[in-house]
Symmetry: C2
């Protein structure tokens, strides 16, 4: 394995921004602004021969005039200027270059020639090159936001490489919205020099990366990615979403990133063999990013289902069977224990349908019994968070007694909603105690569940089917881990 | 077709609440409170021999002591008391009864006997009976909220019958959250008297119902639902989500609603033959409820894709092909027209990848060209709403110039975000002008898109795959409408 250490690329001590601009619509201005506004931990040197200062920083006419060493150069100047700049980088001893500039191999033969030239030069100097035609890189540890869009990601244990800048950046936005934190992102662009497998093997070695995410469009027929993945997946989960799976999508990908079409079936088999978790859609990618980064991998495929309402239990059970998860029959001992907690008309089975018991104490007692039961490997807890389930906000005309009662009901609803926090805290405690994932399905108002994850470190989804699909992927990963290497 | 007119049931002029209670934990109190707080348009008569007033209303010792006529009786008293109450309802000339009380056929032989007795009596009196074991009914026109949970739905054109009260009510909550309005909901409970097919044929005739939603768990082997549906689906879309599709789910359903298992494959074929749109999961049900109630049905399966970023175009194209939608090649004329608007490096194909053009004017011009092109039947517009895509909120230490620039960028971002409203308004205008659905994919922060629908009547989703799946269902429905009856 031809491992490339990209530490200095992702965590440089100093950056030269070549093409730094004072014109707000230029990328050389926007990327610089994004770097500065997030407080990059090292030194930033804007480079532009026409300016004395940019955004209050001294501006340098060229790389060689910069007084100290430069670890990383970011280039936004037009394609024909890049080749000479790589030479300058070589002379300056730069170790990494991010070529944001487009107009290379994605545009035709002349672009391809230029790309080959800059890549050959970079390799000659021992420079690692990201792109060209990239949206940039992000790294949490050094507060490096060398990205075209002004996204400010949450920090966490996920690192991603993406053959589409937009898709990669969108994952950061969704992560923000759902409480999911990232450690690194690289938009790999045309992958002239550094390729997906290089990022993959670097993330595998990187101690701050716990889960690896990827969006791919094209893979060269004999890509090293598979053989790299086979070793990486034993250490960390690798979640991949592949664009260009169909003829229609493949054609679009060819015009977009020049990606070569490889038969979807062949690809899928190779992914599976390598232990890669391939997601079927973009929602699945972010949903699984959440589960893999914040919940333990279950030991097997047996699920205990806890529900406050019968219909949702049925829907969850269906989804489990359709996704290869098993919903085991409750043992007599478990039934006896539940009998002591629940009214006589509970389901007496798995799903454990509490049948209209809505207080939190019996809910948590049942959750504990299920989670500790040695015949299940995970628990799906429906209605664990019941925010906004009680709407007493309406103001109506009516007798004084009605108004007073509504005021009381509103207070009660507020107190009741506060139970959510207790349930989530206890859920987290049970996950830690049992080592089993407990996936909460809120069925509540919001699709985002940011606070469940950020405030309580509990993985939750708005529907049981999304919980089941995430769990299915974790079970697949467990199976891979348990298979002979 | 044995059509039952349920107008007086759903829009009664007067209600008797039998079992009305002053004890806050009793359903006879909670349901009454829900009815009163939403301002039911008719008269409400609480019935309880032990009380003089409830919530400021005079309370009656029995049905017969109520001075005026009673259209609808709602019963929450224990199961053994219901039979005698049905006799009272018969003598009073009540036309509908909602039996919220549980403890009937879902509990065993004695419950089944009691259920048969109350149903036989009700039918003898010509009373329509909802339930027993129901969570109640909602009707927008009369502001009737005779439901156990205090949900306050948005009003709109969707009516739903549900064999699970929890699932039905959840759709109202999600509707609230996503801007989707309902006209009627009935939790059909054990369906002792009124069955799913009765609600279906009533909703078919009901002028205020535009789209029919259902959650089903059990269907009798020779249910009339199929033959009813065959006629209804020609008039209005019927969207069904079926629980108990698998052995595991079927077992859970049997313990929950006593539903009989019918082979899933047989059922699915029968649904399709009848023209019913069967959804595969709960998210699909609410997503399609939105599309069918707020967008025109496309004339065919040809989709124009407009995107601001290549990767998302690829993902959308893949999803289209995987779901039987066609992404036609752009004609030379269309390409020429786009050339006049877009920079030279746009994709020159469908998906129309604008390639980093982020202003709204060219976006809207391209959308209009695509929507008016007679070789597409619908448009998926990615990134039409870009709320919060620009995060300039961070405050950093740094030079004065940086701080001033950030203040300016924040202002710019706000102005820029305001473009969303212009894009959505124009989108709606184009839908009206062309009669084609234009489905927006926001890719933005929020999963809910309430304001897109409520303020602009534009159907939007957070991911392209969800847009494609909703569109696929509409295309299926078009195919059914175009097939010989």
């Amino acid at each position: 394995m031809n491992y490339k250490n990209l530490d200095r690329l992702f965590n440089p001590k100093s950056i030269a921004m070549i093409g730094a601009s004072a014109t707000p619509v230029k990328w050389g201005f926007i990327v610089l602004l994004n770097i500065l506004k997030e407080g990059f931990k090292g030194t930033v040197y804007p480079v532009n021969p026409k300016l004395k200062t940019i955004l209050g920083l001294p501006c340098y006419p060229s790389l060689e005039t910069i007084p100290g060493p430069v670890d990383l150069a970011i280039i936004t100047t037009p394609a024909p200027t890049v080749s000479a700049l790589i030479d300058e980088c070589g002379r300056k001893g730069v170790s990494g270059v991010v070529v944001i500039t487009s107009g290379f191999s994605e545009t035709g033969p002349e672009g391809t020639r230029m790309e080959q030239e800059i890549v050959a030069k970079a390799r000659g100097y021992g420079i690692h090159l990201v792109g060209p035609n990239t949206m940039g890189i992000f790294s949490a540890d050094s507060n490096l936001h060398a990205l075209m869009p002004p996204v400010v990601p949450l920090h966490g244990g996920i690192s991603m490489f993406s053959q589409s800048g937009n898709v990669g950046v969108q994952m950061l936005y969704w992560g923000n919205n759902k409480g999911i934190g990232f450690n690194k992102l690289v938009s790999s662009g045309n992958e002239g020099d550094l390729k997906s497998e290089d990022y993959l093997s670097y993330f595998a070695e990187d101690k701050d990366t716990k889960v690896i995410l990827a969006y791919l469009e094209g893979l060269e027929p004999h890509s090293k990615l598979y053989q790299v993945a086979r070793q990486v997946c034993r250490k960390k989960p690798v979640l991949i979403f592949k664009g260009g799976r169909t003829e229609t999508g493949g054609k679009a990908a060819a015009s977009h990133s020049g990606a070569l079409a490889v038969s979807s079936r062949v690809l899928r088999a190779a992914f599976r063999q390598a232990g890669i978790i391939e997601l079927e859609n973009s929602q699945g990618l972010i949903d699984c990013a959440k589960a893999f980064s914040a919940a333990p991998i279950p030991r097997g495929n047996r699920v205990g289902i806890l529900t406050r309402g019968g219909g949702w239990g049925v829907i969850t059970a269906d989804s489990c069977e359709e996704n290869g998860l098993v919903v085991p029959r409750l043992s007599d001992i478990i039934i006896e224990r539940m009998n002591k907690i629940l009214p006589p008309y509970w389901s007496h089975g798995n799903p454990v349908d509490m049948a209209a018991v809505i207080t939190s104490e019996p809910y948590l007692e049942c959750m504990e019994i299920l989670a500790e039961w040695d015949e299940v490997d995970s628990v799906i807890a429906l209605g664990g968070s019941i925010q906004s389930a009680m709407d007493f906000q309406n103001n109506v005309e009516g007798p004084k007694e009605l108004k007073e009662t509504l005021a009381f009901a509103r207070e009660f609803a507020q107190e009741y909603t506060a139970q959510d926090d207790v349930v989530l805290e206890e859920t987290r405690r049970l996950v830690e105690k049992t080592g089993k994932p407990i996936i909460v399905v809120t069925l509540g108002d919001y699709d985002n569940h940011k606070s469940d994850l950020m405030d309580h470190r509990v993985v939750s989804y708005p529907t049981p089917e999304r919980a089941v699909r995430a769990l299915k992927r974790m079970v697949e990963y467990r199976r891979f881990l348990d298979s002979p290497a």
